[in-house]
């Protein structure tokens, strides 16, 4: 691992200033579960780390407010997953958290850092001899003609088909969350939908955050849809694995009829993927298994298979369908 200097920030402002002043090689360090992991692989080579993991102002969360839920970016995934109000009123959020990683990692990883988790693409992680535009821009993409079983069927480009691996962001996306960020030039709010980028020609740029911008908190509008919600995650094993396909759904039902549906996909796309077309088509329909399946198909419309991942288009549609039926039972 390349040597780096380490400093612990005592305030958000100091952290931002330090990262901003430090230049290109300076990075925020939160739980470290992604960054330190990738540093060990040589996929990340920061020169200066500014530790924000102990900032007390970032670690809280409030789920009782009438208008919105507020999650400090430094709150640990495990603590938030176990919040009784979240478990009861927003199962999609709780499930997205506890179905991710392991309890050890959830005790370390922060909510803000988790949003920025980087892809599991083996060609990205493992370096030489693999070409990877994310790792070395312009070097090519070994995955496109390679073992792409886990790669994206939605949102890919010629340059990159790496899957966004996270769960939390997918659930947040379904609930129209936003993140408050701060940088040297002040604070702004980014809708979650605008936080992650499709790879396009520049897959190394994964979000719309500037390098010296820091996520302060995540805000989720309070909604009755939260109750009838779920995060359904299909993996190669029953736990402690990334999604082959996942669906975050939330429903507002009127009897058998869907009044409003939220559907977001995980594990299938290059970024957290909102399936608005499927949502629109489902609204006003009776939620039969057939309607759920049709919504699944709509959610995957436009998906493009590679060499080994075509099954995940079908799996994704079925995952959405199952998720809708699970959520309906909670309505």
């Amino acid at each position: 691992m390349q040597p780096f200097t380490y400093a612990r920030a005592e305030s958000e402002e100091a952290a931002i200033r330090a990262v901003s002043a430090g230049g290109r090689g300076t990075r925020f360090l939160a739980g470290g579960t992604t960054l330190y992991d990738l540093m060990k692989l040589g996929a990340e080579t920061p020169e200066r780390l500014v530790d924000i993991s102990a900032l007390p102002g970032l670690s809280g969360f409030e789920t009782a407010g009438p208008r919105e839920l507020v999650f400090g970016a430094g709150a640990r995934m495990s603590d938030v997953a176990a919040d009784p109000r979240l478990v009861r009123d927003y199962p999609v959020l709780s499930e997205a958290l506890w179905k991710a990683a392991s309890q050890q990692l959830r005790n370390m990883a922060s909510l803000g850092g988790n949003l920025l988790q980087r892809t599991r693409c083996a060609y990205f992680r493992n370096g030489e001899p693999f070409a990877c535009n994310k790792r070395v821009p312009g070097s090519g993409c070994a995955a496109r003609e390679g073992i792409d079983r886990g790669h994206a069927v939605l949102g890919g480009s010629e340059a990159c088909i790496a899957t966004y691996p996270g769960d939390w962001a997918v659930a947040l996306l379904a609930l129209d969350a936003a993140v408050d960020v701060a940088g040297p030039n002040g604070a702004r709010t980014i809708p979650l939908e605008a936080l992650h980028r499709e790879p396009g020609a520049t897959p190394e740029v994964e979000t719309t955050l500037a390098r010296d911008e820091m996520i302060l908190r995540v805000r989720v509008p309070a909604t009755p849809l939260g109750r009838a919600s779920t995060y359904h995650k299909i993996r190669d094993r029953e736990s402690y694995a990334f999604a082959l396909a996942s669906a975050a759904v939330a429903l507002r039902m009127e009897g058998e009829v869907v009044r409003e549906a939220r559907i977001a996909l995980g594990g299938l796309a290059t970024r957290p993927w909102r399936a608005r077309e499927a949502e629109r088509e489902l609204a006003g329909r009776r939620l039969t298994p057939e309607a759920a399946r049709a919504a699944g198909d709509a959610a995957l419309r436009g998906a493009r298979p590679g060499h080994h991942n075509a099954f995940r288009i079908e799996l994704g549609a079925r995952t959405v369908a199952d998720a809708l039926l699970i959520a309906r039972q909670r309505a």
Partner: protein
């Protein structure tokens, strides 16, 4: 000693293990230790024409960088299956040739693990790549018929019994199918780790291994020094599963670095590098033709295999040892071929041949049951063997039918409805019940056992064997306790380290059948020697009464029919086990597995909520550790059937998913109820205590039982492992 079952007793080393006090090789931590890291090749095959270690040497704390330019003097270890000691014949860093991606090209040694890793990252190599081939789908020129190869015969000759072609032609029912098994990795959680240290010209190596003597004699060959100048310490291995059965490629590098630096050197091969740094289960392909008469009597079986080997070694296969002997089929033809790939030499991984072969054969037997409309258990019982079909000799013992009957009763098999897709769970999941059987040779290795009784009543037993979790220490202690009446707290078992007694390879499920009879005979010898002393209440009192401080005996034991000369192989660290065919009989352990799967109707996730496994491994000497070993074998079967595949990108060679997130091992949430049971009948023809082997047979048949259960649930015959959601969508 075999008249009665052994009592339940705790695992001998459990106290140390739960305290974290047991020392594995890499747990040697002390000031002055240097830390090493490997740099590896990024091409699938080629030549290093320039290597630049300047940046690595410039890293603060780096003390030494070794490349092929430094280690030309180190000799190759020889291949373990070719009269040598190494998991493969070639030694990395002794030439510029690169035979596979992931092959080490430099060793960096530093004052800290961080500096060593950074140095390794900075080693720059220019490699000239050459064409490579890494899959079974390879030109004919790279396929070697084992029967025509230089591999020793009759051990690696094709098995032929009767006239399979004719019997197949006459068969009323023929089943023909091809099966594929992927490459897989043993992945013990203890990574390949070595601490090497020289003192006064004597090399001490600490390494978790199944074969301390091979490390010792192999290093002696590589470094051209006397074996007497090398000690290998391996009191405990953090899992082996076949990976640690020989001299690894990294060990001599640590030894060389320690010699040059005059410091102890610790080399922990990183998890990604372990996927290329040791052996693996080769990918294999199995073509089966099974013939039966209209009553369901199996009359003919043809089993043709292709299995990966490396460009530089012929890793032999014996897939047909299982298929030719699992049932009493009178006509059998086997043909085993090896496919040369540009990979490190593959090797043994738990039930190396038996598990893939059982997957193929037992899937076909299930298919036969469905063609006949016959219950799969009844069909198997009707085809049980009375004698070994290959040699005509009797089995030393065979309780397969008992395993099937007990298992079926415990599982509730009679409640199964035959038609695929006919059983459903309350939540709508498809339920499938499947059965399959397994066998594994009951082999035995020669052993020297030395037993010492002190006048304070303590006992020390040294014998050749390695503790890697299977419970060998516990089994030995159980014998000593029964024969000598000494309680476990007074027993010391010295195994796994060279010096006292020869440390033969522990593999092939021969551990217990090797050390338990040897321990038993050592007890005989000790009790005879005690008989010469004045009578008293306990052995220790007899010693004291005779004024003796201690009494020591040594016995040397060979497998039935083994020549005296085999002790010479034992003493030089070469494999010397015998079985399953002995002069008077043939000896196997058997198992029957009953599996319930549930297939989620939409997303087709396969869950395994319940397995019942009944094994015959002869007398069970350590019931508690044996039950754990059987359950563990079942977990391995679940992994092999539903999870594990070492992915290969043919363009790049090597293995792509070289970590424990992407190489999918079963986790807690994957494992449901596993009920195990033993026939626990001694097999006194094989050895007086009547023990056979367990570690490998435990896994054999689990994968086909799962595949058969998936068929029962869904109607789909899946012939390529692992079975995953995409196979059922």
């Amino acid at each position: 000693m075999s008249d009665t079952s052994f009592p339940d007793a705790p695992r001998a080393d459990a106290q140390d293990k739960v305290r974290g006090a047991l020392r594995y090789a890499a747990d040697d931590a002390r000031p002055g230790m240097a830390h090493a890291a490997l740099a590896v090749a990024a091409v699938a095959r080629g030549t290093v024409w320039r290597i630049d270690a300047a940046a690595a040497r410039a890293v603060p704390g780096v003390r030494l960088v070794l490349t092929h330019e430094d280690l030309g003097g180190v000799k190759p270890p020889g291949f373990i299956m070719g009269g040598g000691y190494g998991f493969q014949s070639i030694q990395p860093l002794t030439s510029p040739q690169v035979a596979y991606r992931g092959q080490p090209i430099a060793l960096v040694v530093a004052d800290s693990p961080e500096a060593a890793a950074e140095g390794a990252r900075l080693v720059r190599a220019d490699l000239a790549a050459e064409p490579h081939q890494v899959t079974l789908d390879t030109p004919e020129a790279d396929i070697v018929a084992q029967a025509d190869s230089p591999l020793p015969k009759p051990m690696f000759a094709d098995v032929t019994v009767g006239d399979a072609a004719a019997a197949l032609a006459d068969a009323a029912i023929r089943i023909e199918a091809e099966f594929r098994h992927p490459a897989q990795h043993q992945s013990p959680i203890e990574m390949l780790s070595t601490v090497a240290e020289w003192r006064d010209g004597h090399l001490t190596v600490q390494e978790g291994t199944q074969n301390a003597e091979a490390i010792r004699h192999g290093l002696a060959r590589q470094l051209e020094i006397e074996p007497a100048r090398i000690t290998v310490l391996s009191p405990s291995a953090g899992g082996g599963f076949g990976q640690k059965n020989s001299l690894q490629a990294h060990t001599v590098l640590a030894a060389e670095a320690a010699r040059r630096l005059e410091r102890p050197v610790k080399l922990v091969v990183s998890r990604a590098q372990v996927f290329h740094g040791g052996s693996f289960r080769p990918a294999s392909r199995h073509r089966i033709r099974l013939g039966a008469d209209a009553e369901g009597r199996m009359t003919a079986l043809v089993h043709e295999t292709d299995s990966q080997t490396s460009r530089h070694d012929l890793f032999p296969t014996q897939y047909t040892e299982l298929s030719s002997r699992l049932y009493g089929i009178g006509n059998f033809r086997g043909r085993e071929r090896l496919v040369r790939n540009d990979v490190q030499t593959p090797g043994y991984m738990r039930a190396p041949y038996e598990h893939p072969a059982a997957f193929a054969v037992e899937s076909c037997v299930d298919e036969l049951a469905y063609r006949l409309g016959r219950d799969p258990v009844a069909l198997r019982l009707a085809n049980d063997a009375a004698a070994d079909p290959v040699t005509g000799r009797p089995y030393s013992s065979r309780h397969l039918a008992e395993c099937l009957r007990r298992g079926a009763a415990r599982f509730g098999w009679e409640r199964r409805s035959m038609a695929p897709g006919s059983m459903r769970a309350a939540d709508g999941a498809l339920v499938g019940w499947g059965v399959a059987i397994g066998a594994y040779k009951a082999a035995t290795a020669p052993a020297v056992a030395r037993l010492r009784l002190l006048d304070d009543g303590t006992v020390t037993l040294g014998v050749g064997g390695h503790e890697m979790g299977q419970g060998m220490r516990t089994a030995i202690a159980a014998v000593l306790q029964r024969r000598l009446g000494v309680d476990p707290g007074r027993i010391t078992v010295e195994i796994g380290s060279t010096g006292a007694t020869p440390q033969h390879l522990t593999a092939g499920s021969w551990g217990t059948a090797t050390v338990v009879p040897a321990t038993d005979e050592a007890c005989d010898a000790l009790l005879r020697a005690l008989d010469a002393l004045p009578a008293s209440r306990t052995p220790a009192e007899r010693l004291r009464a005779a004024g003796r401080a201690f009494l020591e005996v040594e016995v040397s034991r060979r497998a039935p029919g083994q020549p005296e000369a085999v002790i010479g192989r034992l003493a030089t660290g070469l494999p010397a086990a015998a079985g399953p065919a002995y002069p008077e009989f043939v000896s196997f352990s058997h198992v029957a597995h009953f599996v319930e799967v549930r297939v989620e109707p939409t997303t087709c996730r396969i869950r395994v909520p319940r397995i019942v496994s009944v094994a015959d491994c002869g007398r069970v000497v350590s019931p508690r550790t044996a039950a754990s070993q059987l359950r563990g074998g079942v977990v391995w079967g679940i992994g092999a059937a539903l999870r594990e595949v070492s992915e290969v990108d043919p363009r790049h060679g090597g293995f792509l998913n070289a970590d424990l997130a992407e190489y999918v091992l079963p986790v807690h949430a994957d494992i449901g109820t596993i009920e195990v049971e033993f026939v626990d009948e001694p097999d006194p023809r094989l050895n007086r205590p009547g023990v056979k082997g367990l570690g490998e047979v435990a896994m054999v048949g689990v994968a086909p039982a799962i595949a058969n259960a998936v068929h029962h649930a869904t109607g789909k015959r899946l012939r390529s492992l692992p079975i995953r959601v995409e196979d059922l969508l």
